[in-house]
């Protein structure tokens, strides 16, 4: 029920009537999620920033290092290689996942026969755990395995320094495309059909319809898929760990930033250095995300 109230000031801006109530409702709606995030995510980030300035052992601080952890990272060739590998991986895997996911989503969104079967099949790799899928991939990409037999290669894909990271990239693009398909499918469902009918009446062909109508209308979807993809790619760990047995080999090919963090924290018990590496990773991902926000993410003025 809209009651006419005189405009009041809230944080220095002129207010619409009822907007305090709207704000309170807004806060109420997001309260529980924000509490969970603050407690279990933001607090650990703060904790990480704090301990990154110390030589922090298992039982607590051993020595105040100031910014030395960060300068150590700067000079550490292993960390630099980890960053390089991770960014290289991200640059390849994200477009692959997004394109494949979009393609699959468009396909299974059609009223084709056996739609359920196809949806199941394309999402299948995403359903299995990363440990299971990596084990299967190790088997299939064995030097005498199915993949080599079918395509006539003779390489140990995950153990050759040149093909190890591309193999993981391809593996993850394939596995995660199903999840991206799911996201794009949801986004496609939101596009009303009358838009297409109008365009069809205007004589637009399907290709034009896709590029001029569907693709732009998917902008919120693109933003979501791009952000989630990039963040996930920068955090790649499971497959690298399983394939290289934690060493990041062969010849550092699969050494990712999170693997560096894992080894530093859990094998070396150097929690401060690990936290510093985590902060660096966070900043890099944050910068990527801001760029995407500027390009895709802003909502239309409410």
């Amino acid at each position: 029920m809209a009651i006419a109230v005189p405009k009041r000031r809230l944080f220095g801006r002129t207010k619409r009537p009822g907007s305090t109530r709207e704000a309170l409702v807004g806060y109420a709606f997001v309260f529980v999620p924000m509490a969970v995030f603050l407690l279990f995510f933001i607090y650990p980030i703060g904790y990480a920033v704090y301990i990154s300035r110390y030589d922090w052992g298992i039982l607590g601080p051993l020595e105040n290092l100031g910014w030395k952890n960060y300068s150590h990272l700067w000079h550490d060739t292993l960390f630099r290689r980890a960053i390089k590998n991770t960014i290289e991986y991200t640059v390849w895997v994200v477009p692959a996942q997004m394109a494949l996911g979009l393609l699959l989503a468009v396909v299974v969104n059609q009223r084709i026969k056996f739609r359920t079967f196809f949806r199941g099949a394309f999402y299948f790799p995403a359903l299995a755990s990363s440990a299971a899928i990596t084990s299967i991939a190790l088997y299939l990409l064995n030097i005498n395995g199915l993949f080599n037999k079918v395509f006539g290669f003779h390489r140990a894909w995950f153990y050759d320094t040149q093909t190890a990271l591309p193999a993981i990239t391809a593996l993850n693009a394939w596995t995660t495309s199903g999840t991206m398909m799911l996201f794009y499918l949801a986004a496609l469902q939101a596009i009303p059909t009358d838009v297409y009918e109008a365009a069809a009446i205007d004589g637009a062909g399907p290709w034009r319809q896709f590029w001029k109508i569907t693709f732009p209308l998917l902008k919120p979807g693109h933003f979501f898929v791009a952000v989630v993809s990039i963040i996930g790619a920068m955090k790649v760990f499971d497959q690298n760990y399983i394939v290289s047995r934690g060493t990041g080999g062969p010849d550092y090919a699969t050494y990712s930033v999170v693997l560096y963090i894992y080894n530093t924290a859990i094998k070396d018990s150097a929690l401060g250095l690990a936290a510093a590496a985590g902060v660096v990773l966070f900043i890099i991902i944050f910068l990527f995300t801001i760029v995407q926000w500027a390009l895709f993410g802003r909502q239309e003025a409410n």
Partner: protein, 312 residues
């Protein structure tokens, strides 16, 4: 929700031509004689290509099942079909490893987390998309920020927090509640819902407001039913994400009676000599519930009708 009539065959033609087809596209009228045969061939080719692609995605599962049906020494060779068929691996997995228990544990936490995640993400996503409150963008960036931290960094602070929870001093380690608490809502889900709600036109909300509906009622009665596909996506994502989670389950559900499927399965992955047939049998058993949940929820993705209500 009633489904629309099948799109004209022309849409399939376009699909066969390899171009992405817009949802619900209406093509030129069909039925021109003489085209029937070429259409049939194109249709067969399309379905053939799609089936080949689908099989490519399915190959690992086929191999898993076939390996699970082989006796252990036979898993050494790479044949697709077993020479000797045996369900011994399944029997062994079920009796030697307490999979009934693991599955129950996985089900408990996955169902609980999926329920709260879906509800809280929808509620929060709606607020971020439609309600105005000061600091909204900042809070949203906080939400995005939570995605950017690797789990390994959160290991120690969260574990310590759960051993003595602030204020209440509960020990939540090795409890379902503790595990649920840290995963009860996910930023990805909230983010997705926000994006989804952004794309829904405002007419219905405005109509509801004019009718005198409050914020929650508008959300519950109007927005939520429209969000079927997004809710389905989140449900699938959260269920599968929790079902397949290893890191936090390994850390927080420690006693054997609390082990989830992934922790129970870890024995196979981490030991020196991989018992391939047991591993695959266990993986197949582990996969089935997720497959069922997925097939159930994917029905909510209906071709081209999501916003049928908006037109009226």
């Amino acid at each position: 929700m009633s489904e629309p009539a099948a799109p004209p065959l022309a849409a399939l033609d376009e699909l066969a031509a390899g171009e992405p087809v817009a949802v619900g596209a209406a093509g030129p009228p069909v039925g021109i004689p003489g085209r029937a045969r070429s259409e049939l061939i194109q249709r067969l080719l399309t379905y053939g290509a799609l089936t080949a692609l689908a099989l490519l995605f399915f190959v690992p599962f086929i191999w898993s099942v076939s390996t699970s049906l082989k006796p252990l020494p036979e898993t050494a060779n790479f044949s697709l079909l077993p020479h000797t068929w045996t369900v011994a691996a399944y029997k062994e997995a079920w009796t030697q490893y307490n999979f009934a228990r693991y599955m129950a544990n996985s089900a408990i936490v996955s169902v609980a987390i999926t329920f709260t995640s879906v509800f809280l993400a929808a509620l929060g996503g709606y607020a971020f998309a439609r309600l105005r409150f000061p600091g909204r963008n900042l809070l949203f960036f906080v939400v995005l920020g939570t995605l950017m931290i690797p789990d390994q960094l959160r290991l120690v602070p969260i574990y310590r927090m759960l051993t003595i929870f602030p204020v209440t001093h509960w020990n939540l380690v090795d409890t379902y509640q503790g595990y649920w608490a840290i995963r009860m809502v996910s930023a990805t889900a909230l983010f997705l819902m926000r994006q989804y709600f952004l794309t829904i036109p405002r007419d219905l909300e405005e109509a509801a407001v004019l009718d005198g509906a409050g914020y929650f009622k508008t959300f519950w009665r109007v927005m939520l039913p429209l969000a079927g596909p997004a809710l389905a996506a989140i449900a699938i994502l959260e269920f599968q994400g929790t079902w397949n989670d290893f890191f936090w389950a390994n850390l927080l559900l420690q006693s054997p009676q609390h082990w989830t499927m992934q922790v129970g399965l870890a024995q196979f992955f981490w030991s020196y000599g991989t018992l391939w047939n047991d591993l695959m049998a266990a993986s197949v058993i582990a996969l089935l519930p997720v497959v069922i949940v997925y097939l159930f929820f994917q029905r909510y993705f209906v071709a081209g009708v999501a916003s049928a209500g908006v037109k009226g």
